[in-house]
Symmetry: C2
Subunit: 204 residues, 2 copies
């Protein structure tokens, strides 16, 4: 756990990483904090502070070696450590998430998918056999999964999360647009798509 | 535009709203900032500051009237103003987003969906006829849409966003896990699912 970094800074690290990965050798070997700040519409001091949480150090008047900064961000974000996650809810959104191949670049493997609908159990979604929710405790144990993605309907989300907490899940990425009550020692991150669109509408 | 509120506070307002909506009459007429803070694992002073951006005022030793606070948050987030949005990319994720009914509670209507795949154009996804991307300029004009949801593959995202900016879109919710270059006067919010899972992994 990266205890030393504020969540708000941690949230920006993948943004820096995506930006740096979008550059090519033609953009040069070095990149300055000012250039990063300008591209991302952030303050330069803030960028420098955020990046200081990683092990990378910019060089005065030159900036960061781009490839080194990418490596430092990847190291900090644990991209090189394989972590197993499970997914609960193989409906439209869950299926789309399973089919999405982007988790690997952060070292995350979605190892199993579960659904409560008997018609979905046994089907193959995104290359995964969908298992019954009753298999969750075994699956978590077998794969030593600490992470779960929850893409179930809002009214089912709290019960599903409670079950996951009881089975030892420490972090949940919850897509259901409801407030989830959680124990002290776990983290729930909510991706509320409608709320994000509402926030966006408030910003334009 | 809510110019006076920091983005980090704005981001928490839907979280408060979801929490308050999860309570019932049995939880009482009033709710204190301390109770909200405790449920959401936030600091009480921060909660009070955030809520002060809305028009609601807590009463000393009593707290907020829950229904009034909900109404104030809904008002601030523009839930009662109808805003039109379009969606580009009717693949797995785009289809799931179209089928998702949660936008309405924030006053947002996803009025049209577009895709570049001729096989998808003309099909019905989430109750919407999928149109060709060449129809985007007309659609934006006709519906006076200022918001767009982009759920296209990473390699297509920048070109799609550029087109949307040119057509007058002011805010984009981008699901493609790439950095999007954008003009000064627009806002791009990224929902990078894998990055969120990586952040979660760093927090547990």
């Amino acid at each position: 756990m990266n205890k030393d970094i504020p969540e708000i800074s941690l949230q920006r690290l993948p943004v820096y990483l995506n930006y740096l990965r979008s550059l090519t050798d033609e953009d040069g070997k070095y990149i300055s904090s000012g250039a990063i700040a300008s591209a991302l519409k952030l303050g330069e001091v803030l960028v420098r502070k955020d990046l200081a949480y990683t092990s990378s150090a910019g060089r005065p008047k030159v900036g960061y070696v781009r490839t080194e900064l990418i490596a430092a961000l990847e190291e900090y974000l644990g991209c090189n450590d394989i972590k197993n996650a499970i997914l609960v809810g193989a409906g439209g959104l869950g299926s789309a998430l399973l089919a999405y191949g982007g988790f690997g670049k952060y070292g995350i493997q979605v190892v199993e998918a579960y659904d409560s609908d008997p018609e979905k159990v046994g089907s193959v979604v995104g290359g995964k056999h969908v298992l019954s929710v009753s298999d969750i405790p075994n699956g978590i144990k077998q794969h030593n999964a600490k992470l779960a993605v929850v893409a179930v309907p809002a009214q089912a989300a709290q019960a599903v999360c409670d079950m996951l907490f009881n089975c030892g899940i420490k972090g949940i990425l919850n897509f259901a647009p409801v407030f989830i009550t959680s124990p002290e020692n776990v983290v729930v991150r909510n991706i509320d798509v409608a709320a994000n669109l509402a926030i966006l509408a408030s910003m334009i």
